[in-house]
Symmetry: C2
Amino acid sequence: MRRVEARHLRYALALAEHQHFGRAAASLGIAQPPLSTQIAALEREVGERLFDRTPRGVFPTAAGAAFLAGARRALDEMAGAVVDAGRAARGETGRLRLGFIGSALLAPLPAVLGRFRRTHPDVRLAVQEMESPAGTAALLAGELDVAVGRATPRGVGAESLVTVPFWTNHLVAVVSTAHPHAGRSTIGVDQLAREDLVITPPDKEPAVSAMLRALFAPERCPLDGATVARDVHTIVGLAACGVGVGLGPDSMRRVARNDVWFCDVTPRVRLPDLLLSFRAADRSPVLAAFLDTVRRTCPDVESRLDRLLAAHPDTAARRAAG
Amino acid sequence: MRRVEARHLRYALALAEHQHFGRAAASLGIAQPPLSTQIAALEREVGERLFDRTPRGVFPTAAGAAFLAGARRALDEMAGAVVDAGRAARGETGRLRLGFIGSALLAPLPAVLGRFRRTHPDVRLAVQEMESPAGTAALLAGELDVAVGRATPRGVGAESLVTVPFWTNHLVAVVSTAHPHAGRSTIGVDQLAREDLVITPPDKEPAVSAMLRALFAPERCPLDGATVARDVHTIVGLAACGVGVGLGPDSMRRVARNDVWFCDVTPRVRLPDLLLSFRAADRSPVLAAFLDTVRRTCPDVESRLDRLLAAHPDTAARRAAG
DNA sequence: CCGCGCGATATCTCTGACGTATCGTGCGCC
DNA sequence: GGCGCACGATACGTCAGAGATATCGCGCGG
């Protein structure tokens, strides 16, 4: 025999368990002589007698007992390695680094992340808030696995990313409960044009800013002197202070405060969709599992994601099999 | 392939290391095609693709990375098991339960145990003081591995024990520095007969008590009204208090006090030897190592132990080889 | 003293691991 | 852009060695 193989460990453990060559061999599904020769070969390889063959049974020597303990651990590790591989392949273990814009934390991230944590408790989630352009850059730099933003990735390398819209927002206005508009269910764009506004700065979410700018007549645009805030909660807070009318996505309604009032904007203004981006070449099972969770959680984008996921052969095969 | 073998783990690790089938195979001393087939068989057995074969190299998939981590641990455990077996066979690990009479702690146990601890730091020593008859009983009950006492084992099962004398003591007397005999280098047995004595009780060390009794004329024996103490230190302490002349083994001189004085007894009285006992059937390498330490530490019993150890075939063979 | 149970040994068989030869393919180079 | 080349996969023959069958050696009990 050249080297110690897993077979020898299995044989030694069976022999220790049955204390009898014949019965141990039977439990292993082999005849007694091969077991004798394999144990002898193992002892020769280890360099120590591992079993005492007595007329009353076969018992491990001190060396044998020490060896058996290690053998048990080794076989456990081997079995564990196979299990770990399967779990990793199914995306049940590993790491997912997610970057997102703050407003996505109102919806739909709570539902998606909550479900993912429940179904994949052993995946380490590294989640950080970042503005859309930074998310694209981090994705390309390999520092993120998934980015959630409102800006379609542009620039060098952007074609290596896959982007899928997965949440739709409409514009809502928020005012202090002391504001004249408080209590109204809707507010018109023309009315907004006469108000002091609180909005997100242009450099933060360019797509949103561009869209808002298109909403108003360029000659006397209320955005020009508007108050800016980088965070949804700040927009709502400033509106509550009476600084002006805050504008943001309808998910802003989830900000729980009793000193503000939300109005739909008429006509209904659709904001740039929340987009989910990832590297097209990324075959990480954790990513596939996350996308699957997104698919199940956001039914309106199911078909679109399904088409994309079909491009992942492994994932597609796994879903077909499951 | 029926089952995952250690070979597959070694191959997978080599492949991960070299990221190249040909070079990995070369490092394993095999040709490239068998490596391909073995890796394929492993992947089939695990049920997951473990390596991505790209034009720029071979890289582990997520499943492969998880598997490789476990494979590394498994092979480490296997190697560790072989090492552990060797160490156990050489008596470098394990447990030694030693019972001894208190006076042995003065000499020669400090030297023997000190040396053994230094040469066998990973052997757990369970050491407890016990009187000679209790040591024999514990040895027979399998609760001790070695017993050190002054009484040759007698009774049922005693023939299954091996006993070897390994330390010789002579009788010394101890008196307070205020005692008339203080300052004398020797004291005669006839003088002792006229003194109040402090001795060990008869039930503790029968062999010593019987020997002392033989020392004096039976008609007016000083032992009859003697003060008894179960511990060497107590004997010395009572002597220091002026209670009487303490009698004990010459190792008693190691009791460090400046208020006592030791005198040799003339004529020189040899006490029953310190005896070391163990089960003849005990093939424990730790015991063998301990006996070897005793042999090296107590040169005067070397030849006697050598003859006994020659009866242990394993041990004898090991010594011949080393 | 013989029979029996058990592990070791002898010998044969056949699986499967490995070697050699060759193929398919994707990339690079002129 | 076609050819060459590097690399992994495949085909197939070979042989080591794992396992099966038969038998031996030995210690124990009746």
